[in-house]
């Protein structure tokens, strides 16, 4: 309860005001988040601001139940850092790849556990922050989740200009108008891993086309 109030205050109020007024983030079609109770947000990834922008977009009562999935080797590099990201960003930290010989935690199983509990996830299927404006090949983790839980919808999100605001390897945040576009929630429409990845990738990419379409029309 206290944690929820704290996260709601931090993201829905402080972070959202900062992002909208100072950084210049605009949300489009944010209402889709209210439609679903449990979901997996799938977004492109260029900046640390991405996670902040997505958490701030959530209805304040839901934040506690939405967990960004992050790489343990980076965000969990020391216990203090891991503790802070878990507490403040509500993340679950997973290893980048599945154990080869059954030793150590299985990242996919860790995500299954969260979905089993009714929690929602934020996933960046590109794996790591890519170059601004370029979409890297999606990894298949997302497909494993949607194959096992075909009743949980995924929400595609395309974010533009975040890589300009705070690119990889730079510590200074510089405001630029940027957009976060939410697509309609969808269910996986096949049980073949490759085609689920293709479906997810296509739904995120089509939002990028939306963005360009709109800017041309203006």
């Amino acid at each position: 309860m206290i944690r929820n109030t704290f996260l709601a205050f931090l993201y829905s109020l402080v972070m959202r005001s900062f992002l909208v007024l100072i950084v210049g983030v605009k949300y489009r079609n944010r209402e889709v988040l209210k439609k679903e109770k449990q979901f997996i947000i799938v977004a492109n990834h260029n900046s640390h601001v991405d996670t902040m922008a997505l958490l701030s977009a959530l209805p304040s009562s839901r934040i506690r139940h939405v967990h960004p999935v992050a790489a343990a080797d980076y965000f969990g590099s020391n216990p203090i850092r891991a503790f802070i990201t878990k507490l403040l960003v509500n993340t679950i930290l997973i290893p980048r790849s599945r154990p080869v010989d059954g030793e150590g935690p299985d990242p996919v199983q860790m995500m299954f556990d969260q979905l089993e509990k009714g929690e929602s996830l934020i996933l960046f299927p590109e794996g790591s922050r890519g170059e601004p404006g370029k979409l890297q090949k999606f990894k298949k983790g997302i497909a494993l989740l949607l194959e096992k839980y075909p009743h949980i919808p995924f929400i595609p999100v395309y974010m533009s200009n975040m890589g300009k605001v705070l690119p990889k390897g730079d510590g200074v945040l510089v405001p630029f108008n940027s957009t976060v576009i939410f697509g309609e929630p969808q269910l996986a429409n096949s049980c073949d891993l490759e085609s689920i990845v293709a479906q997810v990738e296509h739904s995120v990419l089509s939002l990028r086309k939306d963005e360009h379409g709109l800017s041309k029309e203006r």
């Binding site: 210049g24 300009k164 200074v172 510089v174 405001p175 630029f176 940027s178 203006r218």
Partner: protein
């Protein structure tokens, strides 16, 4: 509402009544027009009028309520315009830090306006920043395309910050004996006639426009609109001179020059947009485009007006 709280005098009250009277007139006009001629496409005019309601209310409230709020509000306008410009300009990756410095210039410039330190206010951007920003650009060591960045960044401060901040400095001008409207009157005057100038030029152009002024830059601008707009603005400025310490002749001259300056600011930003290939710099204000699309003429009218009044009356 308790009017003494806002320290309202009859001059300020009449301009506020005029502003909202015009808005009501426009709203009723487009409503009735739409009813009589349903085939006329008034959507854009109606959206624009709605946005005018919001902008006028915010502006009048900020201008009257508390000077501190006015400085913050106008400063934020500069910042948002600057951000909008950088977002469409596609500057180099290595220009991020100089851009950050440009943003930092905004609070400094508005602080100088707030404390009314004229000497520092007037040199901070054209002297200090024009030396500092190119230096910040070159210490990144990336020389490819550097001329463009060194030129664009300081100029962007002139367009979005220096000119606009003169609106704020009007509020810091000392009181003159026998001039009741004060800085707030001057601010309302310059914003009102600048915006009316845009509206007049648009309307005259729509009604009688035939000969294009600058077809490659701004295809909708016509000589008829330009001349009609400037004349109307000059006359309106003459009748609103009770908001300024100017005499009748001075008010005519100042309003005329403000109208010309408004046209210049407008077409300069149009040319920038045409070069980048966008119609509007943003979509913040429905029907008007971005913030920069709305304040483009103020960037030139505010300093022209300020310095004329400063020379003539202070």
């Amino acid at each position: 509402m308790n009017l003494t709280r806002f320290n309202l005098n009859s001059e300020l009250l009449s301009i506020i009544l005029l502003i909202f009277g015009l808005l009501i007139f426009a709203t009723v006009l487009f409503f009735v027009w739409g009813k009589i001629k349903p085939q006329a496409n008034l959507t854009e005019l109606k959206t624009r009028t709605k946005s005018w309601w919001v902008m006028s209310s915010v502006f009048v409230f900020a201008a009257l309520f508390n000077p501190m709020i006015s400085f913050i509000a106008i400063g934020f306008l500069s910042f948002a315009a600057l951000r909008e410009l950088y977002s469409v300009l596609n500057l180099r990756e290595s220009d991020r830090r100089p851009i950050f410095w440009c943003y930092l210039a905004v609070p400094v410039q508005y602080y100088l306006a707030y404390v009314g330190w004229y000497g520092a206010f007037i040199i901070f951007i054209p002297v200090v920043m024009f030396i500092w920003i190119p230096f910040m650009v070159i210490i990144r060591g990336e020389v490819k395309g550097i001329i463009q960045s060194m030129a664009i960044l300081p100029s962007s401060l002139m367009l979005c910050v220096f000119g606009i901040s003169h609106m704020a400095f009007l509020l810091s001008l000392p009181e003159l004996p026998g001039f009741a409207a004060g800085g707030r009157g001057l601010l309302l005057f310059v914003v009102f006639i600048t915006e009316m100038n845009d509206v007049f030029q648009f309307t005259w152009g729509k009604l009688f426009g035939r000969y294009k002024v600058l077809p490659t830059v701004s295809p909708n601008k016509t000589w008829e609109g330009l001349i009609g707009g400037i004349l109307t603005t000059t006359i309106v400025g003459y009748f609103l001179r009770f908001l300024t310490p100017l005499s009748g002749m001075e008010a005519l001259l100042v309003s005329f020059l403000v109208a010309v300056a408004g046209f210049i600011g407008d077409v300069v930003v149009s040319a920038v947009k045409r070069d980048i290939g966008v119609k509007d710099t943003g979509s913040t204000i429905p029907g008007h485009g971005g913030i920069l699309d709305r304040i483009d003429s103020l960037a030139t009218t505010a300093p022209v007006f300020f310095h004329l009044v400063y020379y003539l009356a202070y």
